[in-house]
Symmetry: D2
Subunit: 358 residues, 4 copies
Amino acid sequence: MSSFGTLFKVTTYGESHCKSVGCIVENVPPGLDITEADIQPQLSRRRPGQSDLTTARDEKDRVEIQSGTEFGVTLGTPIGMVIKNQDQRPHDYSEMDDYPRPSHADLTYLLKYGVKASSGGGRSSARETIGRVAAGAIAEKYLYQAFGIEIVGFVSSVGTVHLENVTDLLNTLSRVQVDQYPTRCPDTCTSEKMTRRILEAKANQDSIGGTVTCVIRNAPSGLGEPCFDKLEAKLAHAMLSIPATKAFEIGSGFGGCQFPGSQHNDVYQMGEKGLTTFTNNSGGVQGGISNGEHIYFKVGFKSPATIGLAQKTASYAGVQGELKAKGRHDPCVVPRAVPIVEAMAAMVIMEYVIFWLG
Amino acid sequence: MSSFGTLFKVTTYGESHCKSVGCIVENVPPGLDITEADIQPQLSRRRPGQSDLTTARDEKDRVEIQSGTEFGVTLGTPIGMVIKNQDQRPHDYSEMDDYPRPSHADLTYLLKYGVKASSGGGRSSARETIGRVAAGAIAEKYLYQAFGIEIVGFVSSVGTVHLENVTDLLNTLSRVQVDQYPTRCPDTCTSEKMTRRILEAKANQDSIGGTVTCVIRNAPSGLGEPCFDKLEAKLAHAMLSIPATKAFEIGSGFGGCQFPGSQHNDVYQMGEKGLTTFTNNSGGVQGGISNGEHIYFKVGFKSPATIGLAQKTASYAGVQGELKAKGRHDPCVVPRAVPIVEAMAAMVIMEYVIFWLG
Amino acid sequence: MSSFGTLFKVTTYGESHCKSVGCIVENVPPGLDITEADIQPQLSRRRPGQSDLTTARDEKDRVEIQSGTEFGVTLGTPIGMVIKNQDQRPHDYSEMDDYPRPSHADLTYLLKYGVKASSGGGRSSARETIGRVAAGAIAEKYLYQAFGIEIVGFVSSVGTVHLENVTDLLNTLSRVQVDQYPTRCPDTCTSEKMTRRILEAKANQDSIGGTVTCVIRNAPSGLGEPCFDKLEAKLAHAMLSIPATKAFEIGSGFGGCQFPGSQHNDVYQMGEKGLTTFTNNSGGVQGGISNGEHIYFKVGFKSPATIGLAQKTASYAGVQGELKAKGRHDPCVVPRAVPIVEAMAAMVIMEYVIFWLG
Amino acid sequence: MSSFGTLFKVTTYGESHCKSVGCIVENVPPGLDITEADIQPQLSRRRPGQSDLTTARDEKDRVEIQSGTEFGVTLGTPIGMVIKNQDQRPHDYSEMDDYPRPSHADLTYLLKYGVKASSGGGRSSARETIGRVAAGAIAEKYLYQAFGIEIVGFVSSVGTVHLENVTDLLNTLSRVQVDQYPTRCPDTCTSEKMTRRILEAKANQDSIGGTVTCVIRNAPSGLGEPCFDKLEAKLAHAMLSIPATKAFEIGSGFGGCQFPGSQHNDVYQMGEKGLTTFTNNSGGVQGGISNGEHIYFKVGFKSPATIGLAQKTASYAGVQGELKAKGRHDPCVVPRAVPIVEAMAAMVIMEYVIFWLG
């Protein structure tokens, strides 16, 4: 299905080469100031053609609000948003008529639907995420205005280049700071290494994976559910629904599973507003419910499947051959993935907040 | 909420110290042979008191089917199941009246509900998972009979002891093989190291974390959805909803994100029944949809929060003190978590299969 | 599916001749006083064997709360409830082995599931409604305590015997008053006529239909949704999900559709707490949202399908013959349907209230 | 919420005076031929300005498919549709700034959202139904191609003018026949009486209600669910979600509730393809599941609330006064409601069909 959320529900439509992409956002609280100017910045952070590190495909990605607001104020009714597809070149990928791209969705879509969408990969295209980012921007504005909630994502690794001491950044890092680096990794030295790694992949007509880390600050305690809808479960669901993701961890993650309870437990101390934890290995969530500490998590993105480098592989017809993908594509998705991760995080928090507030 | 799934829907109830725990399972296909004997084995693999490595709390965990079958055959109507709580000792944990256990749900439940459930942690208790395992056993039987689907989980790490060459095991490993090891890690040498690590934690009145890896064999291709409900997204949701989980990865996971596309892509070759992939870094899922290869993933479990070792922490009242948790608790949950992981995997696959088949 | 509601979600299980029937109720607010004593009265109003007008099948229908409360107070966790089936006589209906009962679910269940449940009609049995009534009783208690909401149903027709001036009763009628009449029609003369009509049907081994009218008093304004989930739409859904129902109308209903707007519109006047309507043809709902007036509606129940009188009909095998149904059955369901209608109304209101309140 | 359906899910957006209205339709089967030409006819049957009997507001209501098809064939991905609002005159209804229209949603929206949408009534506008009709047209095409399912609605009453012998029409009536009458009541004499009644209301600046009857032919048996999601329950939900509806009945409806079982039961006979019923008081549904007979039902629509005739009523401020609504409005909605009823019926059947088929 193409909806996310039950109370704050986002439904998206659109493929790579159709007329427009967009979404309908339900249950945006009434009385919120929202215009296109609130949404465009995150779309622009997501859009292709931002730097040498991303695909040259040039899309303006201008959002147009269709409904749900009057004079820039939300009515409580669904917000329809449309973003026209401007740069459609459906014939670039001609070799794909013969070959399913390895590790792409070409074959599985065909197996599932029995219909082969035109070049571009259909719904598995990264353009599907535009509606998510637009919807997330609305959620973010509300969350910030109502609670001061801040959501900041950043690139924490590219290939084997890892940002160290990630948790030190969580208290104060801002998007402005993150955007000072073309990689969106907020450390000069590491960012430069990542840039070189991405440009190397680009030069090789290859690609490279990486990770995005994200922090949610100022989320109230009590968000989440005890059983199947734990906060971390919905975050994991949200993040693994982003194209090209392979892994998710909250708080101390896989690494934390190596420690004994006596070292891993977040003991309590009295703070100004109540009990706080001394450490935050839990990543702000205990028993599926937020405890008021920073919620932070990491998402793994594989290297993009579409590469220009020749791959020995079989065609749809089962004939062994060689595929060199043409067309424009990103050598590494993580810089552009940052606003998508933020958007999905905002949707998850918004869902719980609406349930919590009514 | 306490439901998982839309078409194959499982709804659970029950806390640690109530009359019974149980579940209602909707949309079990009619005409399936199901009796308690199909369900009890997985409950017995999950139950406490199996070995020195688990809690001494003794629960028979006998399932009783209430509805939905006649003469051992499913009717297509909801299957109600009840498992009585036999060993209730609500007064063991008396110190918890004063202290929220660090990294447990005691405080967040109180923040959310404003009601403090009696000792035992209420719905965050591991007994909540009994209903899941019972429901999963029904799904598994159907999946095996209809498609030959096999789901096998095993312990892949305890603390810093990691099982090597995990992917080599995926083709043939069976539950019978797994259960020959008290740790459920199917390698004699590694299992012994893990046993020592768990017993060390137990001796220290401490606890230790670990990981469970799980493979789903023979799942048909075409299961999954393109966008928000990708197969890996629902698996991640399912797994992170299990108590004490911190991380999820599918296929090559976080490690795979370090590789370039030219190495990570799973190129195609012609097989007997159609295209297959040469490698399986994708973990059997591409673009959110199964491709017919083994689906495999890893789940991280933190060390149990409840430990006998003294912890310097604050009481509910905000007074600094020392908590030594009494009562019975597991030093390490991963051996008992194996059937829970399998059950959740079965539910996810069943959901897609029912949608796929109607 | 066997769930009703999204936020206040009730999931039921159980057929006529299984071990027990029951339900799981999710999202009951924490801190509510609930014991079996709050639930049993409505179950007893629903149960068979109350008077000469109902089936002689004797079921105690004793509810046992399994979870979700401690010391009689709700925890916020799911409430599991079990009601044992005590009086099982699966062999009474032997002729049904050959004949699908006309206008019963025997044939459609077989067409849908391909499995014939034993005598008793399986999930189409009226015993399926027990879980609904138990869940509704919890909702009602909360709604009354939190808002003073009162829900009162009564029989407004049996066959061609109709209660006149129904709207006059809506302001003050109570369940105690309703229960003074064996028919649950709160008018001595009309009730007596109804009694005669039902006894006539019983004497003839025939059956008779009727209607139940229900009023919800003191519901706050603002409950409901603009579009697909209008308050009247969910009420209609809820009521038409009760076995044997054929029709639903809110406020002035079908009759009101004959009038011009100038007569039908509910004009406003200033009241103590804000604008109120002079008339209430709307039945307390405008544009899908409650306006604070009494919400009232009527539900039509057909005559029970199972009758002792001979029916010329075809067997499963397609052979024309004669069916005389044996076993115990109600000549008229409306007296016993009253608490079921009330329960479904309570669930609908509770759903909106939880969404409204958070 | 603004979604209808779980498997065949339609999500709509749009108010009276926003940029566009539209919808996203999920789970349209792949490989279906769909272009705007399949959708426009039903939109044109719904649109204003068709005859003297409807509002003069002139809207072209041209649908534009945004996504989900390529070369006129569905891909299996969501179909986005946009219909621009062309004739926006937000200042016509100026008196409404002071007065909530009696029996309209003006007051309840304000109570719910605390925001007053501009003149036109916001989401309660009939323009909200455009997305429904567009989505229904897609469902209808599939249902007809796959099963030969035909859905035909018609006007069965206006005010006190009722069409007689409605059930005689159910076997063969077509939309072409219905559209030969400006009232969409397929009987010359009755239609003329209705026309006079509507023109009388128009001349009086008043309005009048009526009913729409609808038949679904060739639906396969086995559609529906036993308990909360009975076929008639979802139909009732769907119909009562249409603006201005007050009542729903299936098959023999309220009238049938007056008859004894011996007369009302639909006895079986052997037909060509299996058992059929001799009569069809059940309206094609037994125990919530279709039995293969015609599914038919009736929906009641009240007289439109917005009338030019003076109404003595209170203003928002609580001051007694007189409201004469200006602007264009329908004196009677039932002729234009016919395609809306058909669309909602198609959505309900499609939901079950997709579940049934997978």
